[in-house]
């Protein structure tokens, strides 16, 4: 049953207004007015999104249609279960990331912060727009808005390296965006509608397998680039040039998750399990995901730069979600959706720790971070906790989602994927635990580190005898770590994200067995 209400539209527009206000007041006003606007917008948005959760849990959806944007297609927002999960994660983490980026920016004395916060807000509005889009065209509109909004963030430092990585980012995303556009136009012409329908509105026999496969690959191309599936992941490591809150936003909250969400929408809400299965598209997708998981883990091991290592671990983790979706079993879809939540909280903690370390000590290479734990105990503890979560240890959020994906794969009779998932968990351990060991290890080389750190520390505001990160950065880190712990123990804490995942999976597979 759909409730007609303006809430979903308000959730999208709030941060657009915030962006305009920030741009308008911008630099000729004291900085904390700008931060105030950002934070208040974040809080309002989170409240709006979370207020919709109970109704969605009860099985009905909010629907708001602006007007008919193209004959037959409206600019409309519908809050179904899957969209709800992504929106909750995005709006929740936006509060955390804004607090963190205020601390980071202050600590780092960044230039042109108004542009940063405005682009940040537009990014979030397009993310929420993506999650609540009711049809393929609205989805595509916000998807491209996300690309354009993240470009100023990637090129924030405005030096040559940033410019090169910005060009690379644009090349990947725009080309895939145009192919996505062609596929959306083709679907609209062939099927006359592009409304998302749980279980997919494309029925298997309607078009020749070749054409359907081509349509599927064009659409998935759009999502795969943002989700960083292996051949199209090039932009992600080079986007590390951006400041850490941006990498945190890109890799945990907005861009990468939007890619995964796009894959989810395309596979489950456009093609649907039967059509995807019929034209053999899910097998291709699955094999790409498997290749990405294994390859990215091996690369991650060799990366010495902490942020690069985390970037490749993101690529690996995202392919978990894609693998979960392409198994097409109800449990694995539930697991994939919950992994969006789990990975978001875990990865944002890791990135925030990396950012805190960089701002406080100026260190970015893992080899130079020996014995850091003595100086920054809390940051390193949270880093350790999050890396265990990523590896999928029980009692942490990562375990719940991985367990479901493996369960789905087992029931769907794909033992090979199960083996890959288990191997990947071990690999994840292999590239995160050494970092933790370095933190808590001997600090023999800390003497000449402090010399180096001392010069860098001054530059970044930390004093010589640095201790733990500034509170504005420390609090978000602790919050996200605790939340990931809580989600691990009780997946249904707070906005019942796990139940939402189950509802969505049921609606997609037409009411399969649900686990408690």
């Amino acid at each position: 049953m759909t409730i007609l209400s303006i809430k979903p539209f308000l959730a999208v527009v709030i941060s657009l207004l915030a962006a305009l206000l920030i741009l308008f007041f911008g630099n000729n006003v004291r900085p904390n007015v700008r931060e105030g606007i950002t934070l208040s917008a974040a809080v309002i948005k989170a409240v709006l999104v979370f207020s919709m959760v109970p109704a969605v849990l009860a099985g009905n959806e909010y629907y708001f249609c602006l007007w008919e944007i193209v004959d037959g297609v409206e600019l409309a927002f519908r809050t179904d279960a899957a969209g709800m999960i992504f929106a909750c994660v995005a709006s929740g983490l936006w509060i955390v990331t804004s607090v963190y980026s205020i601390g980071y920016m202050r600590g780092h004395h960044e230039k042109n912060q108004t542009g940063y916060f405005a682009a940040f807000a537009v990014c979030l509005s397009s993310t929420i727009g993506i999650s609540f889009a009711a049809n393929l065209l609205t989805f595509f509109i916000f998807y491209e808005m996300l690309t354009v909004a993240t470009y100023p963030l990637v090129v924030h430092y405005r030096d040559d390296k940033a410019r090169a990585s910005g060009r690379k980012y644009l090349a990947y995303t725009l080309i895939s965006g145009q192919l996505f556009f062609a596929a959306v136009a083709a679907v609209y012409v062939i099927y006359g509608t592009c409304e998302f329908k749980a279980g997919g509105f494309i029925d298997p026999g309607s078009v020749s397998t070749g054409l359907m496969l081509m349509l599927f690959l064009l659409m998935i191309g759009g999502g795969a680039v943002k989700a960083g599936i292996m051949p199209l992941h090039g932009w992600l490591p080079s986007a590390m040039v951006a400041p850490t809150p941006v990498s945190a936003l890109l890799h945990a909250v907005a861009v990468v998750k939007a890619g995964a969400f796009c894959v989810l929408r395309v596979v489950c809400y456009v093609f649907g399990p039967e059509a995807a299965g019929w034209c053999g598209a899910d097998k291709i997708l699955a094999w790409f995901a498997v290749a990405t998981i294994l390859l990215s883990s091996f690369i991650a091991m060799r990366k010495d730069n902490l942020k690069a290592r985390l970037a490749f671990s993101t690529i690996g983790q995202l392919s978990y979600i894609v693998l979960g979706i392409s198994v097409l079993a109800p449990y694995s879809i539930t697991g994939a959706m919950f992994h969006i939540v789990a990975h978001a909280f875990l990865k944002i903690t890791l990135f925030m720790c990396a950012g805190a370390i960089y701002v406080t000590t100026g260190l970015s290479e893992i080899s130079t971070m020996g014995g850091l734990a003595k100086k920054m105990p809390v940051t390193c503890a949270c880093f350790g906790l999050a890396s265990l979560g990523i590896a999928g240890l029980p009692l942490l959020a990562g375990f719940v989602s991985k367990f479901n994906i493996i369960r789905g794969a087992l029931i769907a009779g794909k033992p090979l994927f199960v083996a890959v998932l288990v191997a990947a968990a071990l690999l994840a351990l292999s590239y995160l635990i050494p970092v933790v060991r370095v933190f808590f290890g001997k600090s023999d080389r800390s003497a000449e580190i402090s010399g180096h750190a001392q010069t860098v520390g001054e530059k970044y505001g930390g004093h010589a005898g640095y201790n733990d990160a500034a509170p504005a950065m420390l609090i978000p880190i602790v919050i996200t770590a605790v939340v990931s712990l809580v989600l691990g123990i009780m997946p249904d804490a707070g906005p019942h994200l796990y139940d939402l995942a189950v509802i969505a999976a049921e609606s997609i597979s037409g009411g399969g067995g649900a686990i408690v």
Partner: protein, 508 residues
């Protein structure tokens, strides 16, 4: 009172600015800027009239016929206003009024050359009249006379432009005259076959003509004539120089609207007069399609090579006119709707971009993109509008450019012409390259824009005032162009379904 002037609106839209243009030299004799103000005020009045007219057409649903001189159509000249040219008249009058307002800082009425601003304004007003005339006339020869007026005022506005203006104007004069004569030849052939000049009458009597080679040659002449006026690919020789050296304040009108209205006239001829059952229509559409595809690729590729801001925009215009011709080549409802919608959206985009180019020239005398470094700190509003317009040119969703492409893509896929879809994608990627290159230079380049210390290094047109942002008369058009792009983008289904559908359906 309104009963009197409601029924006369079609002709008042053309006659009111005519009085302003004709009396401009006289009025500026009385007081320096009186001529300028009358032209601006009259053009805004015409914009309001065109809105009333469009509202009337949308409500009543059928076309408005106005018999000039009181004679019934085949004997006298008549104006026919239906959905398609109703919206185009609104477009022309809106951009005409905005350009007239935009050029007031450029044409400060100074004592020693009183005629300079009066002459400029009367030529600009004639350009608007010519375009309004082409859009509203229903008579083939009358269209030729209006094209001649548009051409002549084009030569004038280009000739008083920058350093290579006269040469560009002279080349445009030669090619423009060949174009107009080819059009006249085309009408001559049609007249010899049917004996009438009224378009509706022509369409009726052409069905009875079985002399196919004659119609084929007439179509060829018309394609060449319209092609030259539209700067379609192989006939675009005059366009890059003309658009980059024209008078900066009139350039938006020339580049934005002047090369679009012949495209509408082409639609009027090839869809309303020649019925699509003619055997050679398929080949004609294929020829136009090939010209369009080559034009799109040529325009986008050439624009990559240039560094002069106007040259980039001029070459991207060749590409975008290719889009419109592509829409006509596709031929089904979506194709034509896409082409007409692209006429509207591209007119606003290109006009807006040339406004920003003129603003940069006015304030800092910037002609080349690599002197645009950090200009957004000095001129935030202009650069904000530039970002919106450029993103729409690339074809990114929330803006109008995307929906133009959307309809073209739908039409092409319906016809199974996947080459056209591929060309649409390639050209928007190419335009992404050169527009983002401009963004890089503007937002990330090192600071090249500085307040001129001594007056002599000041190349800007305007007087050396302290202000950095352009005066208000220039800001309003820039911002309105950007807002119209957003409004067109989000409101495109109202235009395509509400206004264009009835007319295009009749034609198909």
């Amino acid at each position: 009172m309104n009963l009197f002037f409601i029924s006369h609106i079609p002709v008042l839209i053309v006659v009111i600015p005519l009085c302003a243009a004709v009396l401009c030299p006289l009025l500026s004799r009385l007081s320096p800027s009186l001529g300028k103000r009358t032209v601006i005020v009259f053009l805004f009045v015409v914009f309001v009239l065109s809105l009333i007219q469009l509202a009337g057409i949308v409500q009543s649903g059928e076309a408005v016929h106005y018999y000039l001189g009181g004679w019934e159509p085949p004997y006298g000249v008549e104006f026919v206003i239906d959905g398609v040219n109703g919206i185009i008249i609104v477009l022309v009058s809106f951009i005409g009024a905005m350009t007239a307002l935009f050029s007031s800082p450029f044409e400060e009425a100074d004592k020693n050359a009183p005629f300079k601003s009066a002459g400029y304004y009367s030529i600009l007003c004639f350009l608007v009249i010519g375009l309004l005339g082409i859009a509203s006339t229903g008579d083939a020869f009358n269209l030729y006379v209006f094209m001649e007026i548009v051409a002549l005022s084009g030569y004038g506005l280009i000739a008083i432009g920058e350093e290579k203006g006269p040469i560009a104007a002279f080349r445009y004069l030669l090619t423009g005259t060949i174009g107009a004569s080819m059009y006249l030849l085309g009408i001559g052939f049609l007249y010899s076959a049917t004996g009438t000049l009224n378009m509706a009458d022509l369409a009726v009597r052409l069905q009875r003509v079985d002399n196919l080679p004659l119609i084929a040659i007439a179509m060829a002449c018309l394609i060449v004539g319209f092609g030259i006026k539209m700067a379609l690919f192989p006939l675009h020789g005059w366009q890059p120089a003309a658009h980059s050296y024209a008078h900066p304040a009139a350039d938006p009108m020339i580049a934005g609207v002047m090369i679009k209205i012949p495209a509408y006239a082409m639609f009027r001829f090839f869809f309303c007069i020649f019925d699509s059952s003619l055997p050679m229509m398929k080949t004609i559409f294929n020829i136009i399609g090939i010209m369009a595809v080559l034009g799109i690729l040529y325009g986008s590729l050439k624009a990559l090579r240039y560094d002069k801001y106007n040259k980039i925009l001029a070459y991207s215009s060749i590409g975008q006119v290719g889009y419109i011709a592509l829409g006509f080549a596709i031929g089904n409802f979506y194709g034509i709707a896409g082409a007409v919608f692209h006429i509207l959206s591209h007119a606003f985009m290109k006009t807006g971009l040339f406004y920003t180019s003129a603003a940069f020239k006015y304030r800092y005398g910037i002609h080349y993109t690599d002197r645009l470094g950090q200009v957004y700190r000095k001129m935030p509003v202009t650069c904000g509008a530039l970002v919106v317009l450029a993103l729409s040119m690339i074809g990114l969703p929330p803006f109008a450019g995307f929906f133009g492409k959307w309809y073209l893509a739908l039409g092409a896929i319906q016809n199974g012409q996947y080459l056209y879809v591929a060309v649409l994608i390639i050209s928007s990627l190419l335009s992404a390259i050169y527009f983002f290159r401009i963004f890089e230079k503007m937002f990330m380049g090192e600071k090249t824009v500085s307040e001129p210390a001594a007056p002599e290094e000041y190349y800007g047109y305007g007087k050396l005032t302290g202000k950095t942002e352009v005066p208000l008369q220039m800001l309003i058009p820039i911002v309105s162009a950007a807002l119209m792009i957003i409004a067109l983008g989000l409101g495109n289904s109202f235009i395509v379904n509400g206004i264009l559908r009835t007319t295009i359906m009749e034609v198909l």
